[in-house]
C-alpha cells in the first residue's frame, strides 16, 4: 500500500478518465489506498454522523511535524472510502493555515462529486470537511478525535 496519491495526481487522473464508469472505478481504487483504520479505533467518539454509510474519522495535529494535520479514517462503503481518500489528499499533511485557505467544495465540484456534498451537515462528506475545518480554525491539537 503506497498510501493516498497527491491531490494533483488525483485531479489529473479524473480529467483523463472521460467516462463515468472509469472515474467511478478510480474513486473506488482510491479508497483502497487509504491506510487501514484498525477496528479498535473505530469507536463511537470517532463516528461521523449524518452519513448513510458508517464513517470513522480521527484527526489531529502532528506534534513532531510542524503541527501538520493528520487524518485516519474509514468507511464501510466503497464510495465514501474513496471520498475519504480525497479528503486526506486535500488536507492531510497540511498546516492549519494552509487548510484554512483550501476550498474543498470547489475540488469536489471539479471532480464532479458534488452530489455527495449536498445537504450540508447531514452528509458524511460535508461533516468530514467540517471537522477538519473546525480543527484548523481552532488551531489546537487534540489527541485522537478532535
Amino acid at each position: 500500500m503506497t498510501g493516498v496519491p497527491p491531490l494533483d495526481e488525483i485531479i489529473e487522473t479524473f480529467e483523463v478518465l472521460d467516462d463515468w464508469e472509469n472515474r467511478f472505478e478510480y474513486l473506488i481504487d482510491l479508497g483502497k489506498t487509504v491506510p487501514i483504520l484498525p477496528l479498535s479505533e473505530r469507536t463511537e467518539d470517532a463516528r461521523v454522523h449524518g452519513c448513510q454509510a458508517q464513517v470513522w474519522l480521527r484527526l489531529g495535529l502532528d506534534d513532531q511535524n510542524d503541527h501538520r494535520i493528520w487524518i485516519r479514517a474509514a468507511s464501510d462503503a466503497h464510495i465514501v472510502q474513496g471520498l475519504i481518500a480525497i479528503v486526506m489528499a486535500i488536507y492531510a499533511g497540511r498546516t492549519t493555515n494552509e487548510a484554512r485557505t483550501v476550498d474543498a467544495e470547489a475540488i469536489f465540484r471539479k471532480l464532479d462529486l458534488e452530489a455527495h456534498l449536498s445537504g450540508t451537515r447531514r452528509n458524511g462528506l460535508a461533516a468530514m470537511i467540517a471537522r477538519v475545518r473546525n480543527l484548523a480554525a481552532h488551531q489546537t491539537a487534540v489527541g485522537g478525535d478532535a
Binding site: E21, F24, Q52, A53, H78, H116
Partner: protein, 412 residues
C-alpha cells in the same frame, strides 16, 4: 373489487407528469423513488398556479371577492379530501403540513388529554420514525409506555401477538397502513378492530396508502387517519388528518394562534370548534388546493386498473431482481405495493445509488426512517426502488439492467 380491471393507459397518465420527461446524466429519467415523494401531474401544478395568479388572498375573515374565492376554494379542498377518504363531513378533515405534523398533533394532544401514567401506546415494529418519536416524547412526558407489534420474517404484522399486547391500559393504537420500507399492506381494519375492542383510539399512518390504496375510513373503522400531499401527487408542505367528529371534539388545541380561537384576552382564551381549533395561523392555502386536485386526479383514475398495473410491476420486478446473484429482498408479503427494498451481498447500498443514478435510475438508500425495522431485519441500511402508477415495465427492465451492471462494477 370488480373482476375485470380495464387496462390503464400508462402513457397518457405518464404524459401528465412533466418532471418525468427529462434526462439525467444523458439517460431518460427512471424515477423509482416514489415512496419518498411522488411527482406532480400538470393539473396539480396548474391548480397551485391558478390560485396564486387569480384568487390569492387570506381565508376566512375577508369580506372581499378574492378572500371569498380563496375561502371557497380552501373549504372545497377540505370537502374533496373528506370525500377522498369517505369521511362523514368536511369538518372531520384538518389540514396539517404532513403526516409527521398530524402524528405530532395527535401524540401531543392525546398526551395532554388521554394518556396518563402507566398507560400504553401500541405501535408496530415497522413504523416510520414519524409514528415512533412523537409517541416516545408524549409517553416520556406522562410516564406512559410503548408496546410493539412484532413483524414476521416475510414482513407482515404478527396480529396474533398483537392481540396479546392489547390490554386495559392500551389507550392508543397507531399503525402504518402501507409500510414504506417493506411495501406490506397491513390488514388495517383488523388493527382498528383490535383497538376498538380494547376501547383504545386507533390511528392510521396512511402516508404510503394515499397513492396506492383506495381509502374508506368508515370501512376501516379508524378514529384518525393521516395523509401527506406530496406522497399522493400533491404539493409539499400539506397534509390532511381525518378525525372522527367526536374524537376531534374531545381533543384540546395543539398550536395556538389566529383562527383557532373563539376569543382571546390576557385574562383567558376560549377555543373554536374543530376543524378551526386545529388550524392555527394562515394555512397552506395553495397546498390544500393542490392536494385536493391530486385527490381529484386519483379519484378520476380507474383504481382497479391501477391496482392491477402496480401488482404486475411488483411481480415482474420481484421476479427479475431475485435472478440477480446475492440479492436479499426484504418484505415478501403477498399483499404489498410495488416497493422493493433490498441489498446485494458485498455491496453497501450507498455505493449502489450513484451507479444507478448514472443509468438514469433514481432509487433511495438508507434506513428509510425505519431504524427499528432495520434492526429487526439485521441491517443498517438498504436500497429501495419504489414504483407507482406512472412507472412502466420498460423501466423495470432498465432498473434491473442497471442493477446488474452496478453489481459487476462494485464487486469488481
Amino acid at each position: 373489487m370488480p373482476s375485470t380491471p380495464t387496462a390503464l393507459d400508462i402513457a397518457s397518465i405518464r404524459g401528465q407528469f412533466p418532471a418525468l420527461d427529462q434526462q439525467v446524466h444523458g439517460k431518460p429519467l427512471v424515477y423509482l423513488d416514489n415512496a419518498a415523494t411522488t411527482q406532480k401531474p400538470q393539473c396539480v401544478i396548474d391548480a397551485v398556479v391558478n390560485f396564486y395568479t387569480s384568487s390569492n388572498a387570506n381565508v376566512h375573515r375577508g369580506l372581499h371577492e378574492l378572500s371569498a374565492r380563496a375561502t371557497k376554494a380552501y373549504e372545497a379542498a377540505r370537502a374533496q379530501i373528506a370525500s377522498f377518504v369517505n369521511a362523514d363531513a368536511a369538518a372531520e378533515i384538518i389540514f396539517t403540513s404532513g403526516v409527521t405534523d398530524s402524528l405530532n398533533l395527535l401524540a401531543s394532544t392525546l398526551g395532554a388529554s388521554t394518556l396518563a401514567e402507566g398507560d400504553r401506546v401500541l405501535l408496530t415494529h415497522m413504523e416510520h420514525h414519524s409514528n415512533i418519536v412523537p409517541w416516545q416524547m408524549a409517553c416520556e412526558r406522562v410516564g406512559a409506555h410503548i408496546d410493539v407489534i412484532p413483524v414476521t420474517d416475510i414482513g407482515e404484522l404478527d396480529l396474533q401477538a398483537a392481540a396479546d399486547l392489547v390490554g386495559p391500559q392500551t389507550k392508543v393504537v397507531s399503525c402504518v397502513w402501507v409500510s414504506n420500507a417493506l411495501g406490506t399492506v397491513n390488514d388495517i381494519a383488523a388493527v382498528c378492530r383490535l383497538a376498538a375492542n380494547a376501547g383504545a383510539i386507533s390511528i392510521v399512518d396512511a402516508a404510503q396508502a394515499g397513492a396506492h390504496v383506495p381509502i374508506d375510513v368508515q370501512e376501516i373503522g379508524c378514529d384518525f387517519l393521516a395523509l401527506s400531499g406530496h406522497k399522493m401527487y400533491g404539493p409539499t408542505g400539506i397534509g390532511a388528518l381525518f378525525g372522527k367528529r367526536e374524537r376531534l371534539e374531545a381533543l384540546p388545541p395543539y398550536k395556538g394562534g389566529g383562527e383557532m380561537i373563539q376569543s382571546v384576552s390576557f385574562a383567558g382564551t376560549t377555543y373554536a370548534a374543530p376543524p378551526a381549533r386545529f388550524e392555527a395561523g394562515t394555512p397552506n392555502i395553495a397546498g390544500a388546493i393542490g392536494m385536493a386536485e391530486a385527490a381529484r386526479f386519483l379519484a378520476s383514475l380507474d383504481r382497479d386498473a391501477i391496482h392491477a398495473h402496480e401488482a404486475a410491476l411488483n411481480q415482474i420486478a420481484t421476479e427479475s431482481i431475485l435472478q440477480i446473484e446475492g440479492v436479499q429482498l426484504f418484505g415478501r408479503s403477498a399483499n404489498k405495493v410495488p416497493i422493493l427494498t433490498f441489498n446485494i451481498d458485498g455491496i453497501h447500498p450507498y455505493d449502489l445509488a450513484p451507479v444507478l443514478d448514472h443509468y438514469g435510475v433514481a432509487i433511495r438508500t438508507g434506513h428509510h426512517c425505519t431504524q427499528p425495522l432495520m434492526d429487526r431485519l439485521g441491517i443498517s441500511a438498504a436500497a429501495r426502488a419504489s414504483f407507482t402508477i406512472y412507472n412502466t415495465r420498460e423501466e423495470v427492465d432498465v432498473f434491473i439492467h442497471a442493477l446488474t451492471r452496478a453489481r459487476q462494477l462494485l464487486l469488481g
